[in-house]
Symmetry: C2
């Protein structure tokens, strides 16, 4: 089965729907991917991306996003930014530059302002309420590292001409240290795409994902001819085993990938990892990756 778009989590389904619609209407791959991520950013119900994202320890919503063009390998991203309505749109704009493509903190925010991106308070009332409830036990939670809500949205798309692109956006770990940068805006760890090979992206505990450069590792496997589902499983399993051997523990990690022909794969060390897909005819659905007999099985949701 060939798909035009794959995205992490169930929350991306509507984004995938609008992204594949753009492709069907002959919009370009960049419009489609940016639009898909934007939809997730704009939905207050998603507590880990854009508006509605849960705040850091100081009660501030800090966002990361990145974009990569699979034809040119051009990439851009922003890290640890506040008050930017759609980080993915800034990341996409930066990906068109040849230099100064990744910007962090106040420099990134200033760039967004100067380029007239919409600035707004990103702490939704629902997220503020959640923070206020948790704040009572803030120290305890931070000590326990009982972080929740690190569900990055990652979208990989491919148009009929074989051009691929990838966009990611996240508010990172709930109650994170201010300034914390996870894997999402880090090329090779949170995302990587090459139209001549395929693309991959990751969601989960960024610090552990980064140690294995998971997205780039999967694309390297695809390059060697490994089938896309197997590439996801081999990379994730190897890294999990490696982390257990080196450190005795590993955080949650899930990956998605699409090869240059539109075949997709996914793997996870969670019990269940839902992800969204859409095809050229506009058929969009949620699939789930689950463990069965030591292998990952992909089921319809």
């Amino acid at each position: 089965m060939k798909w035009s778009m794959i995205a992490t989590w169930r929350m991306a389904l509507e984004g995938v729907r609008s992204g594949t619609r753009i492709l069907r209407e002959h919009g370009n791959i960049h419009q489609a991917v940016v639009n898909a991520v934007t939809e997730v950013e704009d939905d207050e119900n998603f507590q880990s991306v854009g508006y509605g994202g849960l705040p850091n320890r100081n009660g501030e919503v800090e966002l990361d996003a990145a974009y990569m063009n699979g034809d040119t390998l051009d990439a851009g991203g922003i890290m640890a930014v506040q008050n930017i309505k759609n980080p993915i749109q800034v990341a996409y704009t930066l990906s068109k530059y040849k230099r100064n493509c990744f910007l962090a903190g106040t420099g990134a925010m200033k760039f967004a302002q100067e380029h007239h991106f919409i600035m707004q308070d990103m702490l939704a009332p629902s997220a503020r309420k959640r923070y206020e409830e948790m704040k009572v036990n803030l120290e305890e939670m931070v000590q326990q590292e009982a972080y929740q809500g690190h569900d990055t949205v990652c979208v990989i798309g491919r148009d009929d001409n074989g051009s691929m692109a990838c966009g990611v956006s996240t508010s990172g770990l709930f109650l994170k240290q201010p300034g914390r940068v996870g894997d999402s805006p880090i090329i090779g760890s949170g995302f990587y795409v090459d139209s001549e090979i395929g693309g991959a992206a990751a969601t989960g505990v960024g610090e552990d994902i980064m140690k294995g450069c998971l997205a780039f590792s999967i694309v390297e496997k695809l390059k060697l001819g490994t089938e896309v589902q197997r590439a996801c499983e081999e990379v994730l399993n190897h890294h999990e085993e490696n982390m257990m051997k080196r450190n005795g523990s590993v955080g949650s990690m899930s990956v998605i990938a699409m090869d240059k022909n539109g075949h997709v794969g996914a793997a996870t060390n969670l019990d269940i990892f839902p992800f969204s897909v859409g095809d050229a005819d506009g058929n969009c659905q949620v699939l789930v990756a689950i463990h069965e007999n030591g292998k990952i099985k992909i089921l319809e949701s």
Copy 2:
């Protein structure tokens, strides 16, 4: 020939000397690598690292640094920070955490202050003078992207027990956009080390280095059994050809690597790329990588 330490550029020679001395006196690999990078950061004469580093467009010295432990794969880094005397020491401290290991901007600076790292104005009089001279033609320079001084210090070390580590530090591109993050603090692009395989690091135009995840790519080659010098050349040549094909241009890029046995390699797309090495007996010297008949030749300086 086996080495205990390899580092980018001639400027790292004294750092390598002090790092290998620490190893000889049975200090640990982390002390040795952090110390080697610290020496370069502290020397005002080096215009691209630490004190004396050239400022961004606003005349501010913004620094990036990262550290990786090859035994555990733990890594930490700071990006786009100001006023931190020794970024490498903050990065090393962050690498010991399990979460919130990479910090950007004001969050990173706050962490450094709270952990009592030395804070100071990092704009040396010599760097200010250079900036003032250039400022006259600032717009023109930025338009031309005529950046200079992107010579990151990268140090890879290995102790007698086979433990490896890597540290990098830079002030990034001269006249960069405020907030700009290059490849240096990006795991897999600017640095990567695994004591069971080897380590690699990169210096040059970060935006182009990142597109190929050069450090991780080299370590992947080592893992497959490729000899270290060949691994450096194959990865750099492939990426250069790929970038020329996709974009028609590529910035300067140089890489160093050390395998798990202490053999080293280097490659560059510059005419000449000097790098520093030191062995367990304290013999330290500068070697140069140059092009000869389509191959890289390593010569004594």
